[in-house]
Symmetry: C2
Subunit: 232 residues, 2 copies
Amino acid sequence: MVTPELLSTFPILKSLPQEVLSQLAPLSAMRKFARRGIVLNAGVREESLCFLFEGRLQGVDFTIDGREVGLYFVEPGDFCGELGLFDHGPQPEYVIALTAAVTVFIPMEALREVMIKQPGIVRVICERLSARLRQMTKQRSLLGLPNISQRVCCQLWMLVPEEDKSGRTESLINNPPTHMEIAIMLNLSRETVTRVFQNLQTRQIVKRDGAACLLISDVQTLRELAEGKQEL
Amino acid sequence: MVTPELLSTFPILKSLPQEVLSQLAPLSAMRKFARRGIVLNAGVREESLCFLFEGRLQGVDFTIDGREVGLYFVEPGDFCGELGLFDHGPQPEYVIALTAAVTVFIPMEALREVMIKQPGIVRVICERLSARLRQMTKQRSLLGLPNISQRVCCQLWMLVPEEDKSGRTESLINNPPTHMEIAIMLNLSRETVTRVFQNLQTRQIVKRDGAACLLISDVQTLRELAEGKQEL
DNA sequence: CAACGCGGGTGATTACAGTCACACAAGGTC
DNA sequence: GACCTTGTGTGACTGTAATCACCCGCGTTG
């Protein structure tokens, strides 16, 4: 059962009036995914938006010759699969669960109806589209970096929680993506990512903390590496 | 002077009622750019959408170390600079005129007002946002291709006019991007792009036709190269 | 006209990331 | 316990695209 209260925990939906949430809640469905589960299928017309409650998702495409390409990460509070909402086109890419994940699916048809009566929700979704576009632009720029270590550090930097980025010297990333998952985001091979991580570990900038945790022991140095102010 | 008729030549605006166009037209301004002209500046809050009437634009970003990164091409009938419309954020990337270009600038404030009264225009712009997102996804996947020639052929293929793609054996690309401009789209060096083009020319797949024209003499072979069904 | 900048063309060299081939540890499952 | 699978760690080798250094031709501008 999805309650209006659950929906209102999403920052994107928070601003909507209670009545809209009450209207959407009974139509929505909670779905859980195991690691590696396919959340959204490429090529088909998905009929729901997928809101992520817990875990981490990754948008993934495949090149003509079968290579995986990582497009974006989806973090809790965010959503994905929104493209068909406007153009009724098929979902262009796969969305995969990188960790066990809890999601809420809201049917597009319901959203479209609400959108007509409540222009507020349109704004919210458009802002989200804009944000995704900015995110992809940033990710694309990343690929232009000729220095591979910098590329990895930038990606790592983007995974650091916003509240830890300034001031703190340590930060914890829960269930970090695997080396392979990072590699496809950066057009690198898995081995290359591993080697960069090895390097970061020996310099005590990051540290593995069990299988499901990555400790950034020196946040500010990571930042400087990401910004190119320091070489690895 | 911008007339409502001029606005209605844009496929995106065509569907709007006459009165809306009449309202927007007097607020809009025609602007012409020389090759290399800066159409939109990165980092500043642009207050207009830029509709392209003639010519070709390119969205460009720069990496931290000053390298150019090509993000997308804008073809006639299309527009750019729409991100701030919703989130009031700054324009994330530069937009440069690759050729002499004729544009129409429509102030965001005017559009926002129209958007409130006329939900139709919101739809239209959202569809456009979706399309841009699909385009960037496709472009990102391109970068995953390990075969460099294929990458160039794919990019070239995207520049072929839609109506020439099936059936025709020849096609003409007017004012094609320079090798450098293609190179930054594909994360390649200018020289590498030149070498691929040399190769395509000796195989009589493309042909220079003066400075401002590129003739695709064998459209179907180009397609097969782009799809990886043939090696170069 | 000379001078210049830009776009394109080409060879030699080299750095460096991909690839392949392993090894190892941890967790799950029969 | 034996067995997989998955994620990571590492060395040796190699292919290939970047880089650098030139060249040319053309159009513009003084």
